[in-house]
Subunit: 357 residues, 2 copies
DNA sequence: CTGTTAGCGCATTCAT
DNA sequence: ATGAATGCGCTAACAG
């Protein structure tokens, strides 16, 4: 006989077996009866600090444990107009970047006894907005989002939900923002390539309208400028956010231009670029160097391992969560906060001296 | 006059700016007034089907949209004793296996208008139990878990929560279960190796107490038996669930035994094995073949690409979610359901004929 | 088909 | 320090 079973039969005699989906759980009332106090005292003893004598507090705690009481979040949220569920809105959990981000967020939230409601929006504005509405319905106090559209943070904020934009920033609109210092990272990586003698570097990139792509492009340009090199605009190869497309774009880049190095703006594009290089049996880095922004595990497993920029994605996630929680707790001044996490260049085997032409 | 009344009458005039964290959202009452019907009619018009005239239904919908009404899940859940939040309890979101599983689950849940509350337990029994309690508090109708301990599914079920165990099974205890057919997959992979002439195959494995490890080991043995080969027990190399440990174990295996192929029981161990092989500059597959259970993206990016068993992890996740939803909706007969998802052998370049000794 | 009534379980007034 | 009363916003019973 289970602990719960005992508790119940002690209360009402024979009680039907808990058929799943239809179990009556103990309430504050039950705890109150068990401890010989009033329901409000139970509430105070369990949560608030200072308004219950140690004696009563212990009695209540013991009673709660005994009958297996578990507080009902829905009731608590309804009454107190607060929730410990946090919305996390990302594009694609299968992309290790987002998975790491979510992992960092979850870790921090869990430590603070908050829960993560995770929604994939597949990068689709409609799904993103839909998700925002759902989170609104859940009355979450805050949301962390890698925004697709400015409308999403906006509608959340208009309804009093704290928003932290992760990884990218869309205009001035939405709330606090935590991002990798894309420009600095891309610049450092480009400097590394130029330092190796590369002057014709192809940049494989999918977008420049978000702060991520814009920043990485800016860093790419800044490094060239620093070395007095002019950027050949034809070497900036725009593609779509998709490994296959990136592969085709890489092929085109290789066919049309005599590049000695390729800088992929993110981990997805890098996959396509690498596939094309392998297919052509171009030895890396002797014939061509390859580097990527956003270090993910496979990049250190391939031969040669890729030179990358590590965004500290998990830490990025933790930072988002810490910032959001501080905001929710009212610990932050009202003005919008922008946190930049410094990336780190990791030099591996895929980049080497430019071949003599 | 109540504060609510005041706030509402104020709405006709100038509306106060929504200060974040303290916004009064419209309620059914507000919609009712706007549409000229009663609150319960609003509720029915918005949710239940058939109990409201089309005319009224449209009026209510329009009114709700007009004033920006978003239902309060907490209140709804409290009253109706149902929730659309589903708990998902996994070990490590950063492992692509779990990420894919979660992605499949989320996809299916979202399509059914359920939400995913994702918790990482880091494979720690205490954290897992803690998470179960949290989900209990949230009054979720169901949980999908990759269980660490049988206690977790049990406590959930004892409280009337539907449980689907994903990927592994701990005794008979917990609820429905969805798993890869580990034995069949491992057997097929082993057959492939034996078919290539390998007779001394090292099995790199971390556990055999769960159905995953046990099944893979069983498949490994079954294939040997089928070919009339005796399994050399010394070639079953136990290690811990960690790439570095797997690497050291691989080193030991190579030092002590003359294996011509290595079968890694999962993606994490494969990483360690590959690292060691690369470090020793053993050419794969000429000197040694390498294969792994659980296909993850990097395995097709390395050179040569790894021969693997694809578990259809995303589909595994979708299946879990579909099963759980069917259970919640009461569409399933009471008896426990065990679903096996057939895996698929993917032969790539890392496995080849056994070298003549 | 619709309105009225009555809580879901809890945290918060307000009294003592 | 504790207890009694009061809703949070919603939906399930009941009438009509």
């Amino acid at each position: 006989m289970t602990q719960r079973g005992q508790a119940r039969s002690a209360r009402t005699g024979a009680q039907p077996e808990p058929r799943s989906g239809a179990v009556r759980r103990p309430t504050v009332q039950d705890v109150a009866r068990e401890a010989g106090v009033s329901p409000s005292t139970v509430s105070r003893a369990l949560h608030t600090r200072g308004y219950a004598s140690p004696d009563v507090r212990n009695r209540v705690r013991a009673a709660a444990a005994k009958i297996g009481y578990v507080a009902d979040h829905n009731a608590r949220n309804l009454r107190s107009r607060t929730s410990t569920s946090i919305g996390v809105l990302i594009s694609d959990l299968r992309n290790p970047f987002y998975a790491d981000l979510a992992a960092g967020i979850e870790e921090e939230l869990r430590a603070a006894e908050y829960q993560m409601v995770l929604v994939n929006d597949n990068g689709d504005p409609a799904e993103e907005l839909q998700a925002a509405e759902t989170l609104l319905a859940m009355r979450v106090p805050g949301v962390i989002v890698t925004p697709v559209t400015a409308a999403c943070p906006r509608v959340l904020q208009d309804n009093g939900v704290h928003v932290v934009c992760a990884d990218r920033e869309l205009g001035r609109s939405g709330g606090d923002v935590v991002l990798s210092d894309n420009k600095a990272g891309a610049r450092e990586l480009t400097e590394h390539l130029i330092g190796l003698g590369h002057t014709r570097i192809g940049l494989l990139i999918d977008e420049t309208k978000w702060s991520t792509g814009a920043g990485r492009l800016a860093g790419f340009r800044a490094a060239h400028e620093e070395f007095g090199l002019e950027v050949d605009e034809d070497l900036i190869a725009y593609t779509s956010f998709d490994a296959d497309a990136a592969r085709r774009t890489t092929a085109k880049l290789l066919n049309d231009h005599d590049v000695t190095a390729i800088f992929s703006a993110n981990n997805v594009l890098a996959q396509g670029a690498l596939a094309e290089l392998k297919d052509r049996r171009l030895t890396v880095p002797r014939r061509i160097s390859l580097a990527a922004y956003d270090d993910v595990p496979w990049m250190s497993l391939v031969q040669p391992a890729l030179t990358t920029v590590d965004q500290h994605t998990v830490e990025l996630g933790r930072t988002c969560a810490r910032l959001l929680l501080a905001r929710i707790r009212g610990e932050l001044p009202p003005r919008r906060r922008r946190v930049r996490v410094a990336p780190r260049l990791i030099i591996r085997g895929s980049t080497g001296p430019a071949p003599r032409s």
